[in-house]
């Protein structure tokens, strides 16, 4: 009873923060002046011709990004997780850094690099620079930026799922063939569902991405929703504009659920103590190290260097601090609160899915994934549609809206992390506690949570990063005087000096890295204490 009630409460909260706002938004699109009408949808399809190009652009960008990211991410995951490549931990951390900030900051970095007065102007010939600069604004530049931004997703998933491969299976393969064949016929097929899941996730994230394409002047369809709402506050048109993307997202998730989900649930890291087999690179060690280092330089070091260099003006940092210290403090607070609530909700969602504790466990998983992949602007619009009314004004005018936005958008992360963690916690631990007479909440608090603690802490850390870097939804719903740092950077971009903007971005990245370093040490301390 206790379990059922608690899990139902979690589901109800998820519905309130996630599903109801979407319903409110779509409701406004079909109920106008009290009458049911499909006018905005008719208008959308009547103007279909002018929408096909941005829809085509979105699908092209998303497909190419997912394809490139999957190839690159898997290759890097294998090199960094499965071989004896030197410095692989350092390189893995370095290549993961783009995940810490919104993709539009990477776009800003590349603009700083390739502009005619940019960082590379003294290093690259002018004609080459002009050519590269031309490529930056459009599909090639957008693709490069999104591949850099999302590659860590597949790389990290590959690193994680490699631990799910039973080393005995690989050893059996090695008795017959060499490593390349073993990887191809044993390792990769085992983790293929996980890789495909990663690719699908990246496809959906790229499909909903707004910031970078807008900055790089590549017309994509989610911009239409942002435009309809942000410029015209037209809920109906914004909802209608979101519907094609929503339809694509639902289709893709349906495919994922039908063909992949059960297989990814079954991919669990092998029990601790079993060491993963590493592939010796032999004479390929140095070339591989050079290749990965070059890639890390191109994808991460150069743009960050451009950011730092362009921030180096005498007054940029003091001015940045003066302009944004309050929003930075707020961002940290909101991110901490958001991460905590995300961990709690995500834990119970993950528990619900893992144990199939309620009949609608599949719907919960799908809902969290759907909300994760929707553009933040759609979630923000939905929250406003639902909560902007006199009776709920107290909530609408508070930072609670920002927290709601985080919960709606990112519960999938903590839920899936919990799911993966619980897969490694034997069910018998909870059952043994149950046999002693402990009620459900006590079993969770004293047995399951401690056993799953590293995963819970990882979920908190990841929730913290994503809340800290969030822009799409929070930009729309923050109450007066309570903007977050990413929103502050975005508003200051209009006529803010490039050095100021760069300094603010550097502060955001640095704060995120420092927070992670501190919290990461805490994780190691807790882990060793256990």
């Amino acid at each position: 009873m206790e379990r059922r009630v608690t899990l139902l409460v979690v589901v109800v909260v998820l519905v309130i923060v996630g599903l109801l706002p979407l319903a409110a938004m779509f409701g406004k699109s079909i109920i106008v002046d009290g009458r049911l009408t499909l006018g905005v949808y008719e208008k959308l399809f009547a103007n279909g011709r002018q929408h096909w190009p941005p829809i085509g652009n979105s699908l092209t960008l998303a497909t190419l990004t997912a394809g490139c990211v999957t190839l690159l991410g898997v290759s890097l995951g294998l090199l960094l997780g499965k071989t004896d490549l030197p410095l692989r931990r350092t390189l893995a951390v370095l290549l993961s850094i783009p995940l810490l900030f919104p993709p539009y900051i990477l776009a800003v970095c590349w603009f700083n690099l390739l502009a005619s007065n940019g960082v590379l102007v003294h290093v690259i010939p002018a004609r080459t620079l002009e050519l590269l600069s031309g490529w930056l604004f459009g599909l090639p530049g957008c693709l490069w930026v999104l591949v850099s931004a999302f590659m860590p997703v597949v790389m990290i998933l590959t690193l994680f799922y490699l631990h799910a491969v039973n080393p005995r299976l690989e050893e059996a393969g090695r008795l017959i063939a060499r490593w390349p064949a073993t990887l191809r016929y044993v390792t990769l097929p085992t983790i293929l569902p996980g890789i495909l899941f990663g690719g699908i996730l990246v496809f959906l994230l790229a499909l909903g991405e707004v910031g970078a394409p807008m900055f790089l002047r590549y017309a994509v369809f989610p911009v239409e929703t942002l435009t309809q709402f942000s410029a015209f506050y037209d809920f109906g048109a914004a909802a209608a504009a979101a519907s094609p993307l929503l339809a694509v997202t639902l289709l893709v998730l349906a495919f994922e659920r039908r063909y992949l989900r059960e297989k990814t649930y079954r991919l669990r890291p092998t029990t601790p103590g079993r060491r993963m087999l590493l592939v010796p690179l032999g004479r390929w060690r140095v070339p591989a190290l050079l290749a990965v280092s070059l890639l890390a330089t191109a994808m991460v070091v150069l743009p960050l260097l451009a950011l730092v260099v362009s921030s180096l003006s005498p007054f940029a940092y003091p001015e940045a601090w003066n302009k944004a210290a309050d929003s930075l403090a707020r961002s940290l607070v909101f991110a901490a609160v958001g991460a905590t609530l995300l961990t709690v909700f995500g834990f119970f969602c993950g528990y619900l899915i893992h144990h199939r504790a309620l009949r609608l466990w599949r719907a919960v998983d799908t809902l969290t994934l759907l909300l994760f992949t929707l553009p933040g602007t759609v979630i923000g619009v939905g929250l406003i549609a639902l909560w902007n009314r006199p009776a709920t004004g107290f909530l609408y005018a508070s930072a609670g809206m920002v927290i709601f936005a985080y919960l709606a958008q990112y519960t999938a992360l903590s839920s899936r992390i919990t799911l993966a963690t619980l897969g490694n916690v034997p069910q018998s631990l909870e059952e043994a506690a149950q046999m002693t007479g402990a009620p459900w909440l006590a079993r969770i608090a004293y047995v399951v949570l401690p056993a799953a603690l590293p995963g819970v802490i990882a979920a908190w850390l990841i929730g913290f990063i994503f809340c800290l870097r969030d822009l799409g939804a929070s930009m729309l719903v923050y109450p007066a005087g309570q903007d977050t740092l990413p929103a502050r950077i975005y508003t200051l971009m209009a006529n803010g000096a490039p050095s100021l903007i760069s300094a603010l971005c550097v502060i955001l990245v640095a704060v995120t890295l420092i927070s992670l370093a501190i919290l990461g040490s805490l994780l190691r301390a807790v882990g060793s204490h256990r």
Partner: protein, 223 residues
């Protein structure tokens, strides 16, 4: 009145019958062994008695009180006051030996607060683990872990104890030693024991009665 009674209990998974219409009665203080190969449903029977699985049909009573009937549990596992030793022992890696027993007594309303420390000491001495009270499971040998699992199952003085192949992963010498420990504890405490194993020697040693089980699909053809 039997300690445990199963009447025409069935359980299927994904449409495949694992237990079909089983009826078993276990008297108070008896040591009953369920013996059979893998997949014959013996662990399922144990989990049904514990309440960790719900029978599809049939009825289960414990000490005369119905605990499962009509396809649902009438009494949840945490209220059945049953001690259980799991096949993988299910020791909590973050708790010390002493904390295992404290937790096992925390929700036992029959033992009052004042008597709990003494009860824990008794249980530790009973399994000869008093000197390792502050150790965590990772610091113990296989045999020691077994004894902790036994102590946890017995500390609240349950009337019924279930053991699911608790000695299967141990070497022969340790296996025999722990069999004797189980018999000694049974003699001291007088609980009703249902024990699952696939090992004939173990079954003969432990059980005052052995019930041989075989997989449902191996049943003889109907004449």
């Amino acid at each position: 009145m039997s300690a445990i009674e199963l009447r025409a209990v069935s359980k299927a998974y994904d449409g495949r019958a694992v237990v079909a219409g089983i009826s078993v009665s276990v008297e108070r203080g008896e040591r009953v062994v369920l013996l059979g190969p893998s997949g014959c449903g013996k662990t399922t029977v144990l989990r049904l008695v514990a309440g960790l699985e719900v029978p599809d049909s049939g009825a289960i009573t414990i000490n005369g009180s119905p605990v499962a009937e009509g396809g649902r549990n009438l009494v949840e596992p945490e209220r059945r006051h049953i001690g259980m030793v799991f096949q993988d022992l299910a020791l909590w890696p973050h708790m010390t030996v002493s904390q295992h027993l404290e937790f096992a007594l925390r929700y036992d309303i029959r033992t009052d607060l004042a008597h709990r420390p003494a009860r824990i000491r008794e249980a530790l001495e009973m399994v000869r683990m008093a000197d390792r009270a502050q150790a965590k499971p990772g610091e113990l040998s296989g045999g020691q872990q077994q004894r902790v699992a036994l102590a946890r199952a017995l500390v609240a003085n349950p009337a019924v104890v279930l053991m699911d192949e608790p000695l299967s992963s141990l070497d022969l010498e340790l296996n025999r030693y722990l069999r004797r420990e189980i018999l000694r504890l049974h003699a001291e405490l007088g609980f009703t024991l249902v024990y699952v194993t696939h090992n004939r020697e173990e079954a003969a040693d432990i059980g005052s009665r052995v019930i041989a089980m075989r997989p449902w699909q191996d049943r003889p053809p109907h004449i």
